[in-house]
């Protein structure tokens, strides 16, 4: 049978062998609880301190500004609700701002805060998926507590102008959190240069461990913890530290940082090769989202066909891709990301995300396109909305 061609690295990555190897002894031998006072405990403590230091160097921040959590989602919830609960305890509410193509971790948290009495604003994006900065400027009100805008989108890889956003937030004196889960592997993570107040990263997208994440938070920002207990992580996230997971996160981030330049170059080339080849070989195919995108993301709509069918037929050939984000792949609505970009439903439904990774080769791409061509052709044959000349039949 075929080899597996995994083009779903934006959904999750495997753990790198180097990363897994580095953690083994923390499972079996150096397994102490970092809060234990004896040597076995102190070694664990030292190990997570070292990990914290590594990450703080990459993020150009202090060690106490890194809070380890159990996922990207948790970090995002901590950043946003941490501010919200602080206000609730003061008997106050307030206003949050985000934008329409955020991950559900942000959107659903906002929706919940609405039920808790907060106001929210979802800024629009343009056709390319980039936030409308003017709208952002006017949306910021006196009681705006936090702006949360993602670094790079999980479906399209579109990169938001973080530095411009942070400048606006600084001028308006409002806090700015960015969800960098997708960006961490490829983009600048220097928090000072980015000018951000809080940032979420996670391990499952950067060849680390699933179930790991971190929140960078400037130390002068006061937030309430979501998880109370033994006062771990500076009192902001209690629970015995996931020592191997933390070490994996630091190692993965370190490797990513080291290889960033070369990997970005290699993947950008591969990405452009694939985009051009698809455009050339498959008629009525449309790249969704700006070209200001991650080096590993390719999101195409193929007119007249539907994403899930395409995904499953590619799967039959050993090619793993995604429609929209992994999380929403089992829902019926078209991707909220693509519709926010003004893409028509019938085209949004035909979108496929190819997310390349560390192990993707040109050969993989060639094979994928070869199979994709046949699949698109066959699905169009049975499609009632497909028209050879116009792409889609007129309604």
């Amino acid at each position: 049978m075929n080899k597996i061609i995994y083009l779903d690295n934006s959904a999750t990555t495997p753990t790198r062998k180097e990363v897994l190897k580095e953690t083994q002894k923390y499972f079996l031998k150096q397994f102490g609880n970092p809060s234990s006072f004896h040597s076995v405990g102190l070694e664990s403590k030292k190990a997570i301190n070292k990990a914290r230091k590594k990450i703080s160097k990459i993020l150009n921040c202090e060690e106490e500004e890194i809070i380890f959590t159990g996922s990207g989602t948790e970090s995002i919830n901590l950043a946003i609700k941490g501010i919200a609960f602080r206000e609730i305890l003061k008997g106050k509410r307030g206003h949050f701002i985000t934008q329409k193509t955020e991950h559900d971790a942000v959107i659903q948290t906002m929706k919940w805060l609405e039920k808790m009495g907060f106001r929210t604003t979802y800024i629009n994006v343009d056709k390319k998926g980039i936030i409308k900065l003017n709208e952002l400027k006017t949306a910021i009100k006196k009681d705006t507590l936090l702006v949360s805008i993602m670094y790079a989108n999980n479906e399209t890889g579109v990169i938001q102008p973080i530095q411009k956003i942070s400048k606006i937030c600084k001028e308006k004196k409002v806090l700015f959190h960015t969800d960098a889960c997708q960006g961490a592997e490829y983009l600048l993570l220097n928090t000072k240069k980015l000018g951000i107040d809080m940032m979420t990263i996670n391990g499952s997208k950067i060849y680390g461990f699933k179930g790991t994440g971190a929140l960078y938070k400037k130390k002068e920002i006061k937030i309430e913890p979501l998880i109370h207990g033994g006062n771990h992580e500076f009192g902001l996230r209690s629970g015995t530290e996931n020592v191997p997971g933390i070490i994996a996160l630091a190692k993965a981030l370190e490797l990513a940082e080291k290889e960033k330049k070369i990997e970005n170059k290699r993947l950008t080339k591969l990405k452009n090769y694939m985009i051009n080849k698809i455009k050339k070989e498959i008629s009525f195919s449309k790249l969704n989202g700006s070209t200001k995108r991650l080096p590993n993301n390719i999101n195409f709509s193929f007119f007249g066909i539907e994403g899930e069918s395409t995904l499953l037929l590619l799967n039959e050939k050993g090619i793993m891709v995604s429609t929209g984000s992994a999380c929403s792949s089992q829902s019926l609505e078209p991707s909220h990301v693509l519709t926010a970009m003004g893409i028509k439903h019938e085209i949004a439904h035909g979108s496929i995300r190819f997310s390349l990774g560390k192990f993707t080769t040109k050969k993989d791409i060639d094979y994928t396109i070869k199979e994709l061509k046949k699949i698109v052709k066959n699905l169009r044959k049975i499609s009632p909305i497909w028209n050879k000349k116009t792409g889609l039949i007129k309604k």
Partner: protein
């Protein structure tokens, strides 16, 4: 890592019909051989289905279709086209009674979230029968 197609979201029967759908309309020119036509679905939900049927003496003798949609939409249309034409064809009255449930059952079940796709098939069929009846002033 070798791929052996181990895992599949749907039943074996769905897979079969999705990978090799039966009774697809191959060519527009065939349409003239059919006397009932229905089209249902919408762009927002991501599935649209067209169905052509040939009715003779109150019995559905042939059925062709085209579907834009997910695997279960494709498989359930394919299955429906078989149900109504197998064993010499189905009487109109019986065909009108076919429900999504029946199609789902013949497919070996569908995930909860996909049940609506099988409903689409029987709606297209009803439309086609209505079309036939109105054309024939029945």
């Amino acid at each position: 890592m070798k791929f052996e197609g181990q895992d599949w979201f749907y039943s074996k029967k769905v897979k079969e019909h999705f990978l090799k759908p039966k009774n697809v309309l191959k060519n527009k020119s065939e349409i003239k051989n059919y006397n009932g036509y229905g089209k249902v679905g919408n762009m927002k939900c991501g599935d649209i289905m067209e169905m052509w049927i040939k009715i003779e003496k109150g019995i559905i003798k042939k059925c062709k279709w085209k579907t834009w949609g997910c695997a279960s939409a494709i498989a359930s249309t394919s299955m429906l086209s078989i149900i109504i034409t197998e064993k010499g064809g189905m009487k109109i009255n019986d065909a009108l009674k076919i429900t999504g449930k029946e199609i789902t059952k013949r497919l070996g079940g569908l995930p909860q979230i996909k049940i609506h796709c099988s409903v689409l098939g029987d709606e297209a069929l009803k439309e086609a029968i209505k079309d036939y009846e109105s054309k024939n002033n029945l």
